[in-house]
């Protein structure tokens, strides 16, 4: 049974009404301008006290009776065949309880799993690894993209070519577009491999029951259900016999989907030893083996006519995801700006390096950097203000409004026109556009439970990667039930709860909040049925507000929420809700833009970001406080990508030379600029909450804006990330040469 409801879509000054058909038991979507009591108000995260006092238990904090400590031996060689593995000395070491050979054939990157041990202490486990003797037959390897493309290069997979199949798209005619252009640019942009560096490394604690047919795994994951399904397949168990728990996890950023090797190793060791086993990866293994954002080489050609309208966008891209794929970066070229002629050509190159995995807006920060710096180079040639150039080529009304807000907040006109200092430190500004698609998916189900003591629980099998998922779920349920946020206890991170989707791709907020709202609404109606006879009203005439259940037209006729709960016949009453499929909305994409100001010391080459203004839309913002935290994080990870982060491979040894948290440079407190975040509210429809995700869109444009600002500061583009001092100085040298030639 379904019904029709009218929903207002759009944003201030640009709205329209649409009629959508929704299931009868789906709550009416919150409307544009509707007065809500707790949604949209800044709320500290509900698990803040646990995290701030060290009482939050992460996977690495799990201790079980009799638990052993596992450790994994990894290949020191980038490419080798294993002739033999001798585990006997490790097995004989006192305190070692299980030893496993994991790989008996070919090694394709330095860091690949070879063997594993479980021992009574982490120190002993490390000792045991040293006793494992592996006879390797080393074979030639290749870790650099250019070298991998050579005919003579060793084949990473033994056969075929190291170059994957090209993925191409074409709209219009790029050659004609370039021919018709008044201004063109052609340049090559490169980005380095970035690693996730989750503060909590990958890890798992696994425990089998005595019969060996029930497996419980505590692990640091972005998807408890995807891990459960993978483990069920691996161990040939029914999914119901596998329980996966992740109460807290210390970051994921895309590297923690599915059952990763250490989870399987922990479970295999637990099975072999007959007791629980914990495996927590050391930092070096985390850098080398658990994923990364592939590098890129992007040959870009752009053309624009005399009016500053793009006539052609052409991208030929190569990237290496090591022994993995997924290095494409073409999406921003295809969708941020309007152009009749667009061609993209992407190709993954295989190398003997750790496999790529999704990382915060996969492909987008790389593509956005190349596209936006090329846009600036073209705007300079055409003599057009860079912000104006973007306005002319974007047809997204949300982004247009956001450009206006950012322009005012940042003070673009003043900052962009102020003359460059004559001193050594040059100031520059840049602007870049973001995009993501975070409307969520159906699939999640939620349970809402009211207890006789008046407490309320929300249970859903999602997980909180640090974005504040628990908190926004509590807020949404509290809103529906007319309660303060602290009256709702959200429980997540366990496959014993109802299904939810992995936390990635900015899916969590738009996929989970509607299911929770529906569950809370269903619970509310059950409570209405208890309250109605006492209030002498029909259940449909009641509302939940101000911690009461009351007659809508006569609010004085009210019962305290806790008094209604006291009349629950059993111990508790519960209801389920589901995330229904997306209904019609305003847009399925998000816009967003970021402005950056930098100072470049032309004597040392050091770049300092001094200010970032971010303007983003994410539908209805459930909690502006945690949302702002997420945007701050997106910007700072972008500053790291722009200025510092670079996984360096030694071409002679084939190993990562900086697998630490000091040699791999990360942004720290001294690198933090002044940050202003503005949320531009869009009534987006699509679900009953109208919430969208923020994790990716807040990160897409950050590095690009910084790179554009550096170009503005020194007058010459640095086309390679990270923009290290040596690259700045090299770029300045070319500029000096240009000036001398004139």
């Amino acid at each position: 049974m379904s019904r029709r409801v009218t929903v207002k879509l759009g944003f201030q000054g640009n709205t329209r009404d649409v009629t959508v058909v929704i299931p009868n038991d789906e709550p009416t979507p919150w409307q544009w301008g509707e007065r809500l009591s707790v949604v949209g108000k800044p709320a500290p995260r509900v698990d803040g006290p646990l995290k701030a006092t060290g009482a939050a238990h992460y996977t690495c904090d799990i201790e079980l009776p009799g638990m052993l400590y596992g450790a994994i031996l990894r290949s020191p060689w980038p490419h080798a065949r294993i002739r033999s593995t001798d585990l006997s000395a490790a097995e004989r070491l006192d305190g070692v309880r299980a030893v496993l050979a994991l790989e008996d054939r070919e090694i394709r990157f330095a860091g690949q799993e070879i063997a594993a041990v479980a021992a009574i202490s982490s120190e002993l486990a490390a000792d045991a690894l040293k006793l494992i003797k592996v006879d390797y037959e080393k074979i030639p390897f290749v870790v650099e993209m250019d070298a991998a493309m050579a005919d003579s290069a060793t084949r990473v997979f033994g056969i075929g070519s190291n170059a994957g199949r090209a993925s191409t798209t074409s709209v219009g005619d790029v050659a004609r577009g370039l021919a018709a252009a008044a201004y063109t640019i052609e340049a090559t942009y490169t980005t380095a491999v970035q690693t996730h560096v989750c503060l909590e490394t990958h890890g798992a604690v696994a425990s089998f029951n005595a019969a060996g047919d029930q497996l419980t795994v505590w692990c640091s994951t972005q998807g408890v259900f995807s891990v459960r399904d993978d483990l069920a397949v691996y161990f040939s168990l029914p999914p119901d016999n596998v329980r996966v728990v992740c109460e807290f996890l210390g970051g994921g950023f895309g590297s923690k989907f599915g059952a990763t090797p250490e989870m399987i190793v922990a479970a295999r060791l637990a099975k072999a030893a007959g007791v629980p086993v914990k495996v927590i990866l050391p930092r070096g293994d985390e850098h080398r083996s658990t994923g990364n954002r592939p590098n890129s080489e992007q040959k870009v050609r752009l053309g624009a006519d005399r009016d500053g309208k793009l006539t052609a966008i052409d991208l030929v891209q190569r990237g290496s995801g090591g022994i993995g794929g997924g290095s494409g970066s073409a999406e921003p070229f295809k969708s941020i700006y309007r152009c009749a002629n667009i061609r993209t050509d992407e190709r993954n190159i295989y190398t003997n390096a750790g496999p790529a995995s999704p990382m915060r807006a996969p492909g987008w920060p790389q593509g956005c950097f190349a596209l936006e710096l090329a846009m600036d180079e073209l705007a300079r040639k055409a003599g057009i203000d860079r912000l104006e150039f973007r306005r002319r080529n974007s047809d997204n009304p949300v982004r247009a409004a956001e450009y206006d807000i950012g322009e005012r907040t940042f003070g673009w006109a003043d900052k962009n026109s102020s003359p460059k200092s004559s001193g050594a430190v040059k100031r520059g500004v840049g602007v870049a556009s973001a995009e993501w698609h975070a409307v969520g998916v159906s699939g999640p189900e939620a349970q809402a439970i009211a207890h006789r003591d008046g407490s309320v629980e929300i249970r859903v099998g999602t997980q909180d990667i640090g974005t504040g998922t628990r908190t926004i779920l509590a807020i949404v349920a509290a809103e529906e039930l007319g309660l303060p946020v602290d009256r709702v206890k959200p429980e997540i991170g366990d496959t014993r709860f109802l299904f939810s989707v992995p936390s990635g791709g900015s899916l969590s907020a738009p996929s989970n909040t509607p299911a929770v709202r529906q569950a809370a609404a269903h619970l509310k109606h059950k409570l209405f049925r208890i309250a109605a006879p006492i209030l002498g009203a029909e259940p449909d005439d009641l509302e939940a507000a101000d911690e009461t259940i009351r007659v809508r037209t006569s609010p004085a006729r009210a019962l305290a929420f806790t008094d209604v709960c006291k009349r629950i016949p059993g111990d508790s009453i519960s209801a389920q809700g589901e995330r229904v499929p997306n209904y019609e909305g305003f847009r399925t994409d998000q816009a967003g833009c970021q402005f950056a100001e930098v100072e470049v010391d032309t004597e040392t080459g050091i770049v300092r970001v001094t200010q970032v203004v971010a303007v983003h839309d994410a539908g209805r913002i459930i909690d502006p406080l945690t949302a702002r935290s997420q945007v701050n994080g997106g910007i700072l990870m972008g500053i790291g990508f722009a200025l510092f982060e670079d996984r360096r491979m030694d071409p002679q040894l084939g190993i990562m030379v900086n697998p630490t948290m000091d040699d791999y440079k990360l942004p720290g407190s001294l690198d933090v600029p002044r940050i202003d975040v503005t949320f531009f509210e869009v009534a987006n429809g699509i679900t009953n909450t109208g919430a969208m995700g923020l994790g990716e869109v807040s990160h897409v444009a950050s590095a690009a804006a910084v790179a554009c600002a550096v170009y503005d500061a020194i007058g010459v583009p640095v086309r390679s990330l990270p923009i290290t001092p040596d690259r700045v100085l090299a770029a300045l040298k070319t500029r000096v040469k240009e000036l001398e030639l004139r």
Binding site: G48, P49, S121, L636, L653, T660, L666
Partner: protein
Amino acid sequence: MSRDDRKPRKPPGISRRSFIKGAGAVAAAAGLVRVQPASADEKRLPAGVIERLGPEATTIELNINGKPATLEIEPRVALLSALREHLGLTGTKLACDRGACGACTVHLDGKPVTSCMVLAVDARGHQITTIEGLGTPSNMHPVQAAFVETDALQCGFCTPGMVMSVAAALERNPAATTDEIKRATAGNICRCGTYPHVFAAALRAVKPGPAKSASSVRAAKDA
């Protein structure tokens, strides 16, 4: 040492701490002796007296959060492992294992140190304060409360170390400026990029009221 291509060479990437631990164990195994750091055990050992330790487990006493704790550990065990794996104090986190990220920050006699870089045996005789000793969820230290109120935490994994660094900085200077807080947390890496709210939390905690209560809470704990 010459390189022998027939045998797998040890992969590079030895950490400073594994070097410290390894060197300690080797020295002990070879019958060498370790000189106690002068400050650590002045009370227990006369100056210049040499103590032999390890490699087998030895019984030591530590003063943690105002209470004595006795534990039997190998001398190579870091203070961080002693806290987490031997005493169940898991609030202090292991993240980089080489003093580069600050997640394992604890106070040693009120000063912030990275506990992954301190051997547990060298922490004898010092007052060790961990995140658990600062406050609890129902009775938070003002710095912890300010972290919650300003949302100075996301995934929360760097948070205990970040809180310890900020608390130590405010203890040194209750009127610390944002620049001072930035320097005090320069050794604490937060991959979620939550630093702006950390600065806000520190400013909130330095307001005259909370700063005073910060000291009084600690004084009450010490009493």
